[in-house]
C-alpha cells in the first residue's frame, strides 16, 4: 500500500484534493447549465410532462417587449456599475494615507460589504419612500416634494443601481486597498528620483502595478451587474409594471410565478451566452500578457 502510494503520490494527491471541488462544480454548474439549455427547448411547467417545442421559446422571447426592457435595464446596470472600479480606486487612494483615525474611516467604508444585499435593498427602499424616507425629508427641507423614485418607470432602474453601487464600490475599494499594500517601494522610489509626482506617478508607476487588481475588480463588477437579481427582487419586484426587470429577475419571474420553466430556461441561456462572451474576452485579455511574459 505504502509502496503504491509512494510511486503514485505525485498525481494522486492533487487529484484527490481537486476531486470534491471538481465534482461539485461539474454537477452544480456544468450539468445544471447543460440541462438548462436542454430545458429551454421544451414547454414545461416545472412539475408535469415536458413537451418539445424546438426554438419556439426563443422565437417568443425575441418577440417579447419585456425581454427588451430587461436587456436595456441590464445595459444600464452594466454602464453604471462601470463607475464602481474608478470610485473604489479613488476612495482607496484617499484612505491609504497614514493619518491617525484612518482605520476607523476605513471600517466605515467597509460597512456595506458586511450588510447582506437584501438589507441594503430594504434600507434604500426606505430612503426612497416618498412619505417618510430620508430623500423626502431632504427635499422637504428645501420645500420641494421628493419624486417617488421606485414608482417612476424612468427613474426606477437608476435608483436600484445606485443602491447596488454602494456595496459594489466598497468591494472595489477593498480590492484596491489590498493592491496598494503590495506596491513595490523600489519602483515608487525610483519614480521619485526621476521626478514623478501626482498624476504622472499615479498613471505611470502606481496604476501599472494595479493592473491585475483592476482586472479582477472589473470582472467582478461586470458579472455583478449581469447577475443582478436580489436588489431588484427586494426593492421593486421588477415593478412598476415590469419597468425595472432585468434578465435574471425575468427568468425567475417566468419560471416561478408564471410556471414557464422552458421559457425561463431560454432567458437563462441568453444571459449565459452574454456572460460567456464577456468571460471569453476577459480571459483572452488577461492571459495574453501572462503568456507573453512566460
Amino acid at each position: 500500500m505504502s509502496g503504491f502510494w509512494r510511486s503514485h503520490r505525485a498525481w494522486m494527491a492533487p487529484t484527490l484534493f481537486i476531486l470534491p471541488g471538481a465534482l461539485l462544480f461539474g454537477i452544480v454548474i456544468i450539468m445544471a447549465s447543460i440541462q438548462t439549455i436542454w430545458v429551454s427547448f421544451f414547454d414545461w411547467d416545472g412539475v408535469g410532462a415536458m413537451q418539445w417545442v424546438g426554438l419556439a421559446n426563443y422565437a417568443q422571447l425575441f418577440d417579447d417587449p419585456q425581454f427588451y426592457v430587461s436587456l436595456r435595464n441590464n445595459l444600464i446596470w452594466l454602464g453604471l456599475f462601470m463607475l464602481a472600479p474608478p470610485l473604489g480606486l479613488a476612495l482607496a487612494l484617499l484612505l491609504n494615507q497614514p493619518i491617525r483615525g484612518m482605520r476607523v474611516m476605513k471600517s466605515l467604508f467597509f460597512v456595506p460589504l458586511v450588510l447582506a444585499s437584501v438589507t441594503v435593498g430594504v434600507v434604500f427602499t426606505w430612503v426612497y419612500d416618498p412619505s417618510f424616507g430620508l430623500l423626502s425629508l431632504l427635499f422637504g427641507y428645501f420645500g420641494a416634494t421628493a419624486p417617488a423614485l421606485l414608482s417612476d418607470e424612468h427613474f426606477v432602474t437608476f435608483a436600484v443601481v445606485v443602491a447596488a453601487l454602494w456595496p459594489q464600490v466598497a468591494f472595489c475599494l477593498v480590492l484596491f486597498l489590498a493592491g496598494l499594500n503590495n506596491l513595490s517601494e523600489d519602483l515608487i522610489g525610483a519614480g521619485r528620483v526621476d521626478g514623478a509626482r501626482g498624476w504622472p506617478m499615479l498613471w505611470h508607476v502606481v496604476l501599472p502595478q494595479l493592473r491585475e487588481v483592476s482586472f479582477i475588480a472589473l470582472a467582478v463588477t461586470v458579472i455583478g451587474a449581469l447577475r443582478s437579481f436580489d436588489m431588484v427582487a427586494v426593492m421593486t419586484s421588477g415593478g412598476p409594471f415590469g419597468s425595472s426587470t432585468v434578465l435574471a429577475y425575468q427568468m425567475y419571474e417566468q419560471s416561478i410565478f408564471s410556471y414557464r420553466f422552458g421559457y425561463g430556461a431560454a432567458i437563462a441561456t441568453v444571459l449565459f451566452v452574454i456572460m460567456a462572451a464577456f468571460i471569453a474576452w476577459y480571459l483572452r485579455t488577461l492571459l495574453k500578457p501572462e503568456r507573453e511574459s512566460a
Binding site: 412539475v47 419571474e253 416561478i256 449565459f272
Partner: protein, 423 residues
C-alpha cells in the same frame, strides 16, 4: 431523484440551486423521523399573523395531548410559501399544508399532488354542513381539501371619520366620485391602495367587471374564453380611467404594499380602502371596532350583486407520510369550535353553517352582506391561469398609473391569453 435534479436544473443560478437543495434538505429532515414511527404529523403553514398562528399552535398542542401524536408546525412566509409549495409537494411533502381552493387547488390536483379526501368528507358528513363552499374543493365529484375562511372583498372605512364628516358609504359610482371630491378637499386620499405587490389593482378590476359585465362574462374572461379586446371591456376601462383621472387613488401607489395602504386608512389619511376582513391588521387593537364595511358601489343599475369571495383551504399532499394522522387531525381541527376560533383571528367567514355565532363585527358584517350576493368569483389571480394572472396583474398596475396606455395593455393581455389558452 429524477424530479429533484430536473427541478434544480430548471434555472442555472446558484441561488436557485440553494433553494432547491434547501427544500430537499428540509424534506429529508421532515421525512426521516416520520419513517421511524408514525406517531408524527407535520404541517406547513403560510399564516402571516401572530394571533392566528397562536390559535393553530394551541389546537395542535391540545390535539397532541389527546391523541399522543407529535405535531410539528413549520411556519413559512406567506409569499415565499407560494413558490416553495411547488417543490415541497414533489419532494419532502408535509402531512398537511395550507393553500387556496378553486383554480389554484385544481392546478395541483391535475398533477396528482393533492390527496383525495372524499373518505373524510363521507365519514364526518361535511357535505351537510358545508353547503356551496364544498364546491370550491371538489374536482370531478371528489374532494381534495377542506375549505377554511372565506374573504369577502369590499370597501372599508372608519366609522368615526364618516360620522364626524357626515359622509355615508357610496352606493353608486357617482356617489364614490362625489365622496372622492369631499375627501380630497378634506386633505385625504379618497381610496387607499397599495399596488406594489400588484394584486390590489386586479381586485379593483374584478369589482368593476363584476358590476358592469356580471359573473358569467367575468368567468368567461377568467377561463380564457373571452377576449381582452372584447367590446364589453371598453366601459370597464372607461369608468376605471375616469376614477384614476379624478385622482381617487392618490399618488405613488406602486411604492406601497397593502399594509401601508391599510395604515393610511387607520391613520385617517385615507377615506376608504378596497380589501377583505384582514384590513384590521393595519389597525391598532383598540380601534378595530371603528372599521366599517360596505359593498363595492353599484355601476350597472339593477345588475345582480356578484362579489369576490376567496376561500382559503387546507390539504393533504399526495406524498404525505402520515395520511391517516392528517385526516384524524383535520377532523379535530375542523370541529366547529376549533375552526371558528382559528378563523376569527383573520375575520374570515366560516365555511361551516354550524359554527357558533361570531363576536367579531367584521365577520358578522361579511356574513350579513353575503346574504344578498347572487354569485361569487374568488379573485383575479385565483380564478385565472397563473401565467395569465402574472401578466394581468402587471397590466392592471400599469393601467392605474398610465390609463392612456389602455390599448397597448389590452393588446398585450390578449396576446398572452391566446398563447396560454391556445385560443
Amino acid at each position: 431523484m429524477k424530479d429533484v435534479s430536473s427541478l434544480i436544473a430548471g434555472t442555472h443560478s446558484r441561488r436557485q440551486f440553494m433553494l432547491g437543495a434547501g427544500a430537499v434538505f428540509t424534506g429529508i429532515t421532515l421525512g426521516c423521523p416520520a419513517l421511524a414511527q408514525s406517531k408524527e404529523l407535520s404541517i406547513i403553514s403560510n399564516i402571516g399573523n401572530a394571533a392566528q398562528r397562536d390559535v393553530l399552535q394551541r389546537i395542535a398542542s391540545e390535539y397532541q395531548k389527546a391523541s399522543g401524536v407529535t405535531v410539528t408546525i413549520n411556519n413559512m412566509d406567506h409569499e415565499a410559501h407560494k413558490t416553495a409549495i411547488r417543490s415541497y409537494l414533489v419532494v419532502g411533502a408535509p402531512d398537511l399544508c395550507f393553500w387556496f381552493s378553486g383554480n389554484r387547488m385544481k392546478a395541483f390536483v391535475k398533477r396528482d399532488l393533492f390527496d383525495d379526501i372524499s373518505d373524510l368528507f363521507e365519514r364526518e358528513n361535511y357535505k351537510s354542513v358545508l353547503g356551496p363552499s364544498a364546491g370550491a374543493v371538489t374536482v370531478d365529484g371528489k374532494q381534495y381539501g377542506l375549505p377554511l375562511g372565506g374573504l369577502l372583498w369590499g370597501m372599508f372605512y372608519r366609522k368615526d371619520v364618516f360620522a364626524e364628516k357626515g359622509w355615508s358609504p357610496p352606493a353608486t359610482l357617482d356617489e364614490l366620485l362625489a365622496l372622492g371630491e369631499k375627501a380630497k378637499s378634506a386633505g385625504m386620499v379618497p381610496v387607499s391602495i397599495g399596488t406594489k405587490e400588484m394584486w390590489p389593482a386586479a381586485g379593483w378590476f374584478d369589482h368593476m367587471n363584476l358590476r358592469i359585465n356580471g359573473l358569467d362574462k367575468h368567468m368567461a374572461l377568467m377561463d380564457g374564453k373571452m377576449s381582452y379586446t372584447d367590446p364589453a371591456m371598453i366601459p370597464v376601462f372607461d369608468k376605471w380611467a375616469e376614477l384614476v383621472n379624478a385622482g381617487l387613488f392618490g399618488q405613488n401607489h406602486t411604492s406601497f404594499g397593502w399594509e401601508q395602504a391599510a395604515a393610511a386608512l387607520a391613520q385617517k389619511k385615507a377615506a376608504m380602502m378596497d380589501l377583505a376582513g384582514f384590513v384590521k391588521y393595519g389597525f391598532p387593537q383598540d380601534q378595530v371596532d371603528q372599521i366599517g364595511f360596505a359593498p363595492f358601489p353599484e355601476i350597472t343599475p339593477g345588475l345582480a350583486r356578484y362579489e369576490d369571495f376567496a376561500l382559503n383551504s387546507i390539504h393533504v399532499p399526495k406524498n404525505a407520510k402520515n395520511k391517516e394522522n392528517a385526516r384524524d387531525f383535520l377532523a379535530y381541527f375542523y370541529k366547529p369550535e376549533n375552526l371558528s376560533a382559528f378563523l376569527e383571528a383573520e375575520s374570515a367567514v366560516p365555511p361551516r353553517n354550524d359554527c357558533p355565532p361570531s363576536k367579531d363585527s367584521l365577520v358578522n358584517a361579511a356574513v350579513e352582506s353575503l346574504k344578498s350576493v347572487e354569485g361569487s368569483a374568488q379573485y383575479y389571480d385565483r380564478d385565472t391561469d397563473p401565467d395569465m394572472a402574472q401578466e394581468g396583474l402587471k397590466g392592471f398596475q400599469e393601467f392605474m398609473v398610465k390609463p392612456d396606455r389602455r390599448d397597448q395593455i389590452l393588446e398585450r393581455l390578449e396576446g398572452t391569453r391566446k398563447r396560454i389558452f391556445k385560443a
